[in-house]
């Protein structure tokens, strides 16, 4: 590891002091009556000019943001007008896409000029202008430091200049050039104002360069690891400037392994080096994902568990055996599906050709149950009546969400457009939030109101409405003595199966306003806190104000029988039908990983998850006591990392509600 560079970027953060604040521009653009695409192009040109070439230590991969903010291209009034005419997703800027890095690495940016419009060409000129200034600065520094007697540093700078002469204008010729090229492209996407700019299948598009350099004897494995680590470090320089719900929610994900087009296993030396680099650096970026399947060798699971042990919440697993058929069933061509990666968190997307809006909206499933509990349950003669009411309400809720999304509009992104292919997929992903709370609530109603009949609908509703204040016995029974997901109850599990099937059925065949389909998912994003506040207590014994579980996980207070039972519950549904993504998340106490044998056993557990048909898994090594210590003494835990809902963050930088949720999660210990 380049410890000096690590010290600068991660510990001292001195590079952040170089950043200047930029003035607002929207008013000026507005007065000039510029078109949206002109504004975006002009701002990109301006931002490229405003960057000051800077080098950190003896870095081999450069580029650093030296401006703080990205002034908006529209005024507040203009945004109001745009929002009144269109459906605007989040901030309105494109996000959660993976560009075709392989294409740029092969041909370079200049080659794209032939096929691009004037805005695209101007964007290329703008970023290449900045690259040229970097090159000249590197040469100038090389001369200066040589005069001061630092020959090695001088060589380093002139090597950098040499790399910048080639990339990203032309195709990369070496592993180092390829990494520098990806760094610049990724940097430029953020500078354009696009966000959650993911990295895709790095071990596929970068491996040919590594292989070629190693075969030519230019690189050893150790050199390559050092370069990968420098590349990873480069992704942590400006990331505090990237927008998200919380610090760390920046979408810099990458995908390793997985099937290749010819059906073979894509895990290669570079995949291994990426796991290793993340393990050594212990940083929140990039967020490591890996694709596995029934044929994945045990060694890979063990290697991954070594990374899990570090406590970053990496890697997140996706199961090709479930995801690929699911995507193909949804209309993705097999040759595209096989290239899938994840968006910022866990939504499955296709690099280059995929323009899906994978996180367009969310359905609160417990809210559906809450509505039916109050409106329908008292009139239901039998359980089937209640299921029917819930199914209707799910359909109504999803219809309302879908009908609301019309005239979707994104701020034009000429630079991003250059790097994407003609869109083949414009599907919309819908999160389904609070699935375990909803399934457990259904089970409670089934069990007590209809099966044993020991609780009347009126008593249940009164209990929920009063937050069980006057009926502690009911609370205890619902919360601690009623079957739930993860407690070896077929009844509870079947309710999850039914819910997911019902959701998938409700979205099947629906067309979105861009002609694509809707993809049901099992993720929650931040709605596990937000949606929980919209309802009071729930029939599963969840009290008012308590959050839902994040993503596809069992409820926080379930007295589970353990990790086996959790897997059995959560792999029962046909998850290839709810393939927008959203992982089962499990927190293992960090002491589980004490011995190499135990690490391998955790790997075997993941393998079993894959064999049982799980779609996505997120394993975290945590220690609630440490987290509580960090809440009390944040100054002692600046580098403590936790996984939130689809990304990892520095614990002490999070809002309290997110911290508390991690502490409250089920923790499996020895």
């Amino acid at each position: 590891m380049n410890t000096q560079l690590y010290q600068t970027i991660v510990i001292e953060k001195s590079h952040r002091t170089l950043r200047r604040e930029l003035p607002e521009i929207a008013q000026e653009y507005s007065v000039a009556g510029l078109t949206p695409i002109e504004r975006m192009t002009r701002r990109f040109e301006w931002l490229c000019k405003e960057q000051e070439p800077m080098f950190l230590g003896d870095e081999k991969i450069c580029f650093l943001r030296t401006t703080k903010n990205i002034p908006d291209v529209f005024t507040k009034e203009e945004w109001e007008e745009i929002r009144s005419k269109h459906y605007i997703h989040e901030s309105g800027y494109p996000s959660n896409l993976t560009v075709d890095y392989g294409k740029i690495l092969k041909n370079g940016l200049l080659a794209l000029k032939d096929e691009s419009d004037t805005y695209g060409c101007r964007s290329i000129d703008a970023i290449l202008g900045l690259v040229e200034r970097y090159r000249q600065a590197a040469l100038a520094e090389s001369r200066t430091v040589l005069a001061e007697g630092h020959a090695a540093l001088a060589d380093g700078r002139s090597a950098l200049a040499h790399v910048l002469e080639q990339v990203p204008a032309y195709g990369a010729r070496s592993f180092r050039e390829a990494l520098q090229c990806v760094r610049i492209i990724n940097f430029a996407l953020w500078l354009e104002g696009d966000y959650h700019n993911t990295l895709g299948r790095v071990d596929q598009y970068l491996y040919p360069f590594l292989k070629q350099d190693m075969e030519a004897g230019i690189l050893t494995k150790e050199d390559a690891l050092e370069l990968v680590e420098e590349f990873f470090l480069s992704l942590n320089r400006d990331s505090d400037l990237y927008p998200g719900v919380q610090q760390g929610d920046n979408g810099q994900s990458l995908m390793l392994g997985g099937k290749t087009k010819d059906g073979s296993c894509g895990f290669n030396l570079l995949s291994e080096l990426c796991l290793k680099a993340s393990q050594e650096l212990k940083l929140i970026d990039p967020k490591i994902n890996i694709r596995v399947d029934k044929d994945t060798p045990d060694e890979i699971y063990t290697m991954c568990s070594e990374l899990t042990k570090v406590g970053l919440g990496f890697p997140q697993y996706s199961n090709d055996d479930v995801v690929l058929p699911g995507l193909i069933e949804m209309g993705y061509a097999p040759e595209d599906a096989v290239e899938y990666t994840v968006a910022a968190c866990w939504e499955f997307i296709i690099p280059g050709v995929g323009r899906d809006v994978a996180n367009i909206a969310a359905l609160s499933v417990p809210k559906v149950i809450d509505t039916c509990l109050h409106r329908d349950l008292p009139g239901c003669q039998c359980l089937e009546d209640f299921y029917k009411a819930v199914a209707d309400e799910i359909r109504t809720g999803l219809d309302a969400i879908c009908d609301n999304i019309k005239d979707l509009w994104f701020v034009p992104a000429p630079f991003l457009n250059l790097l994407m292919d003609t869109p083949k997929y414009q599907n919309f992903g819908i999160h389904n939030v609070g699935l375990s709370t909803a399934a457990d609530s259904l089970t409670a109603i089934m069990e007590h109101v209809f099966d044993t009949k020991d609780v009347t609908a009126e008593r249940l509703i009164a209990g929920v409405d009063s937050d069980f204040a006057k009926d502690p016995e009911l609370l205890h029974m619902l919360r601690f003595e009623t079957p739930k997901l993860g407690t070896n109850s077929d009844k509870a599990d079947e309710n999850l199966v039914w819910l997911l099937d019902t959701i998938a059925d409700a979205l099947e065949g629906k067309k979105n306003c861009l002609g694509g389909c809707y993809r049901a998912g099992t993720g929650s994003a931040m709605y596990y806190l937000w949606s929980a506040e919209e309802i009071g207590a729930s029939p599963d014994g969840r009290r008012k104000g308590e959050p839902f579980a994040a993503n596809y996980s069992i409820s926080l207070f379930t007295r589970t029988d353990g990790p086996f039972s959790v897997l059995r519950s959560m792999t029962k549904p046909s998850l290839s039908r709810t393939i927008n993504g959203g992982p089962l998340t499990l927190e293992f106490h960090d002491t589980i990983f004490k011995t190499p044998e135990a690490v391998a056993q955790v790997g075997q557990y993941v393998k079993q998850f894959v064999l049982m048909g799980g779609h996505q898994l997120q394993l975290n090594a945590v220690n609630a006591d440490t987290l509580k210590q960090a809440q009390a003494h944040p100054e002692h835990y600046p580098q403590l990392i936790v996984r939130i809902w689809g990304w990892s963050a520095y614990f002490v930088e999070l809002d309290r509600a997110y911290q508390d949720h991690v502490i409250a999660r089920q923790e499996y210990s020895l």
């Binding site: 069980f468 502690p472 016995e473 609370l475 205890h476 029974m477 919360r479 601690f480 003595e481 070896n488 207070f557 007295r559 029988d561 353990g562 990790p563 086996f564 039972s565 897997l567 059995r568 589980i592 004490k594 011995t595 044998e597 135990a598 056993q601 955790v602 075997q604 557990y605 079993q608 064999l611 049982m612 499996y668 020895l670």
Partner: protein
């Protein structure tokens, strides 16, 4: 027949090879002062209360009509925080075997079931019956070795792996810190050595008591070349005592005299 257990743990990563389910049997003839599973000491059901989180709402003190609450004088079915639990569950061999076998798919070739405790040998007959029902599964046992020779040998013979504790080589110290003589244990160790059953000898490293150079050397000698594991002291061991309303014998107030 029925047995008394206090936990079934899925994914017991330190209880043998592969993915395992560990059954904790309740009741133990030893009273090791450092015991970190105090709920395994007696064979009877016990009340476990997380008093430190209790808000003293009084709900559990009000009279109730549940039959299972009667022995404890507190209502088990009302605590809004779920702080009150009964430790100890009477199960038939069939029930336990079925519960274990539900997760058979996780065990694979290497993994399986581990019997721990408490002291499983105290319910040897029950364990035999569970083994009959489990069929061809890799089974391991974690035992103090304190049992009569026939009980010991007939059960460990059916195990694919035996973890046996050797805590203190000196009989006087063994009596002092565990409450019983180590003579039956050493006799069973001899049987184990002679049997050729795969086994691991475990010694908990209790500061000033078992971790002395002389004790460790003596245990090494007794182990006669068998695989040995030294288990680090569990600093949190005292926490569970409070839940059961018991005192941790090794709390800082009663630190051991080593000489």
């Amino acid at each position: 027949m029925t047995g008394m257990i206090f936990d079934v743990k899925e994914l017991g990563v330190h209880d043998g090879p592969g993915l395992r389910t560990t059954v904790f049997l309740k009741g133990c003839p030893l009273r090791c002062m450092w015991c970190h599973n105090p709920e395994g000491l007696t064979m009877s059901k016990q009340l476990s209360v997380r008093e430190n989180a209790c808000t003293h709402c009084g709900a559990c003190r009000k009279p109730c009509t549940h039959a299972d609450c009667r022995p404890f004088g507190r209502c088990l079915h009302i605590c809004p925080q779920g702080l009150i639990k009964v430790v100890g569950e009477e199960v038939t061999a069939r029930e336990l075997a079925d519960r274990l076998l539900r997760n058979k798919m996780f065990w694979g070739e290497k993994g399986g079931v581990t019997f721990s405790g408490g002291e499983p040998l105290l319910q040897a007959e029950f364990v035999h019956e569970v083994l009959d029902l489990l069929g061809d599964v890799h089974c391991a046992i974690e035992t103090s070795g304190y049992a009569d020779p026939d009980t010991f040998l007939s059960l460990v013979k059916r195990m694919s792996l035996v973890y046996m504790d050797l805590k203190l080589a000196d009989d006087g110290l063994h009596r002092k810190y565990t409450g019983v003589s180590n003579a039956p244990i050493l006799k069973n160790l001899e049987q184990l050595l002679a049997s050729g059953i795969p086994c691991v000898i475990r010694t908990p490293l209790i500061p000033g008591i078992t971790d002395t150079p002389s004790n460790l050397a003596a245990i090494k000698e007794l182990a006669g070349g068998l695989v040995q594991e030294l288990l680090p002291n569990n600093a949190m061991a005292g926490a569970k005592y409070e839940l059961l309303g018991l005192k941790f014998p090794l709390s800082s107030a009663s630190s051991p005299d080593t000489k």
